[in-house]
């Protein structure tokens, strides 16, 4: 009788993706007695959240990582995302991508991010399934839909009768009537993407945003394209300092996504380090190279967990690859990006 075979644990632990000089957190083990990575007492810490899968011709991966600022303070991840697949009445299939980033100044922004992303994604799925749905109609009516459907649901909840009846969203333990909208502020970024590429490999994609969480298109040549947003139906351009639900005026635009492009929704914890007025930053340059094609999930988590000084905010990305026929790429152990 031979010896029992043991799982192969010979692989080295995952090494950090370091951008520039190591931060103070760079070499810190999360379990160290420095207590720089504290558990969230009320739960919903969401240190690492991930959804990934294929739909139609698309490969989708969403990763959210709790930032150092919240880990040090024992607070939950204030980013959240939601992904739904929707079918229109005429049989077109879309994927709905929603990303929310709670404002630090808002007391219940973590809850607001979770709740808003879920509410908006569900609302968009219902709208897509409606008879009257067209992309154009949606782009005109989106602000109104947010005002009429999402805001009331976000700002009201039943107070739990007992501690055991808390809803799954970790709703605040105070009466909703005692919570001001300013305590629920989040940025909101949405994308509605057809799951099959259109003629000549091009698809019409609807993008919408309130606040400063950017959406990028990563082109095949490695450039990050930041779409510009047009005026609202009331003629007011949304500013980056706006937040939902204080404002429901969402800036919308339609872009064309070509086969081989990758649509990237990001919170500013990542977006701020992609590029600036002078051009691509080091992280942006690296991600432009490695995110051209889908990667395995642990590596994507590692990418989003990059170590960069002063990058202490929560990080969330939703990646939508339009070309799943990725070439076999060798997994390299990139530890430092020069």
């Amino acid at each position: 009788m031979g010896e029992e075979s043991r799982p192969d644990d010979s692989a080295r632990p995952v090494t950090t993706l370091r951008i520039g000089d190591a931060s103070s957190f760079g070499d810190n083990q999360w379990w160290s007695n420095r207590d720089w990575h504290q558990l969230v007492a009320d739960g919903f810490g969401a240190d690492v959240a991930c959804d990934a899968g294929t739909v139609g011709e698309l490969a989708i991966a969403a990763i959210s990582v709790r930032g150092h600022k919240h880990r040090v303070d024992g607070l939950p991840n204030e980013d959240s995302f939601a992904i739904r697949v929707a079918k229109s009445k005429v049989g077109e299939e879309f994927v709905v991508l929603v990303l929310c980033d709670g404002l630090s100044s808002a007391t219940h922004s973590a809850f607001a991010a979770r709740r808003t992303s879920s509410l908006v994604a569900d609302m968009l799925r219902r709208i897509i399934a409606d008879d009257a749905f067209t992309m154009q109609a949606l782009s005109y009516g989106l602000s109104q839909c947010l005002r009429e459907f999402v805001v009331p649901e976000l700002t009201t909840w039943s107070s739990p009768a007992t501690a055991l009846s808390l809803p799954a969203y970790g709703v605040p333990s105070v009466e909703s009537s005692n919570v001001q909208p300013s305590e629920l502020l989040v940025t909101l970024t949405i994308a509605i993407v057809p799951t099959t590429n259109g003629e000549k490999g091009a698809s019409d994609v609807l993008l919408g945003t309130i606040g400063d969480s950017p959406a990028y298109v990563l082109l095949k040549n490695g450039d990050w394209l930041k779409p510009s947003y047009g005026e609202q139906d009331d003629g007011v351009l949304t500013t980056a300092t706006a937040a939902f639900p204080k404002t429901t005026d969402i800036a919308v635009t339609q872009i064309i996504l070509y086969e081989g492009d990758c649509l990237c929704l990001m919170s500013d914890g990542v977006g701020n380090f992609i590029q600036n007025k002078s051009g691509q930053l080091r992280l942006g340059k690296h991600l432009a190279e490695v995110w051209k094609t889908p990667r395995d999930i642990p590596t994507l988590v590692r990418d989003v967990s990059f170590d960069l000084r002063s990058a202490d905010d929560d990080r969330t990305v939703i990646l939508c690859w339009t070309d799943r026929e990725a070439e076999d790429t060798e997994i390299t152990d990139e530890t430092e990006v020069s």
Binding site: G20, V72, L308, S310, S338
Partner: protein
């Protein structure tokens, strides 16, 4: 091979400290020199703050001196302390500040950092001895139209400082020690207050200067234009 910028965020803080002869008599020199290690320790031991902020120390009396160039707290093993000297020339301090801010921001940007608007904590125990001449220098420092790197200034006055003058110097906050408060103790509280300001400002995900509450023994002074 030139490296691509990382886009790391930096908040520069300049502590501008009066070291005129009168500071010795009120225990101000000792208060500052004993308070600086506390300030440093608080900032250096906070990973969120130490990675993001840079601290510089400037002293002024007859002339202004850069005692500590803008540095990351964890890179500072020691620094020159303040030492009681001559008179109180505000203009020298503002002139040096203007020069150093330009120099430092140029250097940081050339290294690929994203630099936020500098913050200046100005501490004095008396009226300016160059009272006829400091104001134009000050204006050229803080005028955002002519100086796009104009800092946010929080001014603190103890002992013989004039509340109106302190109110003129602060652009986002100004505080004066209450009469009857020991100036040395007031200075210790001021250092604690500006430490809290640095920590709060750097801890925020979107870095911005957090004006502290009035230090113990101090009251807030209305801001005035120069």
């Amino acid at each position: 091979m030139s490296e691509t910028a990382t886009g790391e965020n930096i908040l520069p803080f300049y502590i501008v400290c009066d070291e005129s002869g009168s500071m010795e008599g009120i225990g101000g020199i000792d208060a500052i020199n004993s308070g600086l290690p506390e300030l440093h320790s608080t900032i250096a031991s906070d990973p969120l703050v130490s990675d993001k902020c840079r601290i510089g120390l400037i002293s002024f009396s007859d002339i202004a001196e850069e005692l500590l160039p803008l540095s990351r707290a964890t890179d500072i093993p020691a620094m020159p302390g303040v030492q009681a000297k001559g008179v109180t020339n505000y203009g020298e301090a503002f002139t040096l500040l203007r020069y150093l801010i330009d120099r430092d921001i140029d250097a940081l940007k050339s290294q690929g950092y994203q630099v936020f608007r500098p913050a200046v904590f100005f501490i004095t125990d008396g009226e300016p001895t160059d009272d006829q001449t400091w104001e134009p220098t000050y204006r050229s420092l803080i005028d955002k139209n002519s100086n796009r790197r104009a800092p946010n200034v929080i001014a603190f006055g103890v002992n013989g400082a004039n509340a109106t003058t302190i109110g003129k110097i602060g652009t986002v906050g100004a505080f004066i020690a209450s009469s009857g408060i020991n100036p040395g103790n007031a200075l210790k509280e001021i250092l604690r207050s500006l430490t809290n300001s640095i920590v709060s400002s750097s801890s925020s995900s979107t870095p911005q200067l957090v004006v502290p509450a009035a230090p113990d023994g101090c009251t807030s002074v209305p801001l005035q234009t120069v």
